[in-house]
């Protein structure tokens, strides 16, 4: 097992989030969400089950929670060597995450205004992508994310931004 942080802010934000956990597997940084781009993830938590040949046996960004009985059943089947039902091909919005990755590059070079322009353009391509939306929020309003995520603020922010849907 590996964990992959979809976090443009990198290790300084991710490492404290692991404090006190008993994680014994590799935790990797994926600042520009390359894994999400490949697997079609638009929010976290999300995850995938990989076969020994590297193929994706299962991927989800809407039920990848160990408390979810559907995932537990799939995991038990998969880890005991069973086969999972094939999934329909997952739609992905590659252009949005490409723009997002360009924004991460600008961000890492200290050009926050350029990063925000690119991230907003990315979000316009895929308004349902909460990886992108949350990164914009986190960059502009870090006090709403660390040390504690303020979901009430996020809900109000969604309304302000005219998003017609619930906060995932």
């Amino acid at each position: 097992m590996i964990a992959v942080a979809q976090d443009a802010q990198g290790a300084p934000r991710v490492a404290p989030a692991l404090t006190g956990t008993k994680v014994e597997f590799p935790v990797l940084l994926d600042e520009d969400s390359a894994v999400a781009r490949v697997l079609g993830f638009r929010i976290v938590p999300a995850g995938a089950l990989l076969d020994a040949d590297g193929s994706v046996a299962y991927a989800s960004d809407d039920d990848f929670d160990i408390g979810d009985p559907r995932l537990r059943a799939r995991l038990e089947t998969f880890m005991s060597g069973g086969r999972l039902e094939p999934q329909p091909e997952r739609p992905v919005t590659g252009r949005a995450l490409e723009l997002f990755a360009q924004g991460v590059s600008a961000h890492s070079e200290g050009d926050e205004p350029r990063a925000l322009v690119l991230w907003r353009e990315a979000l316009a391509h895929d308004p349902d992508n909460f990886l992108i939306r949350s990164q914009i929020w986190a960059a502009q309003h870090p006090d709403r994310f660390w040390p504690v995520v303020d979901r009430d603020w996020q809900q109000h922010q969604l309304i302000k931004e005219g998003y017609d849907g619930p906060l995932p």
């Binding site: 097992m1 590996i2 964990a3 992959v4 942080a5 979809q6 976090d7 290790a11 934000r13 991710v14 490492a15 404290p16 989030a17 590799p26 935790v27 990797l28 940084l29 994926d30 390359a34 894994v35 999400a36 781009r37 490949v38 697997l39 079609g40 976290v44 938590p45 999300a46 995850g47 995938a48 089950l49 990989l50 076969d51 020994a52 040949d53 590297g54 193929s55 994706v56 991927a59 960004d61 990848f64 995991l75 880890m79 060597g81 091909e89 997952r90 739609p91 992905v92 919005t93 590659g94 252009r95 391509h125 895929d126 990886l131 949350s134 929020w137 986190a138 994310f145 660390w146 995520v149």
Partner: protein, 46 residues
């Protein structure tokens, strides 16, 4: 929603080509997962 010709969630091999760093900056090639069944869990600090 659109689909890019070169991008597919079921695009086998695409993950294999990724190399990420761990929290200490050490590189990790995802192709190292080949040979056994693996779970990839994505999360964020926010």
């Amino acid at each position: 929603m659109t689909r890019d010709a070169d991008s597919s969630a079921n695009g086998l091999g695409a993950l294999d080509q990724l190399s990420l760093n761990d929290l200490n900056g050490a590189p990790f090639e995802l192709r190292a997962l080949r040979g056994c069944r693996a779970v990839v869990f994505c999360f964020a600090s926010w």
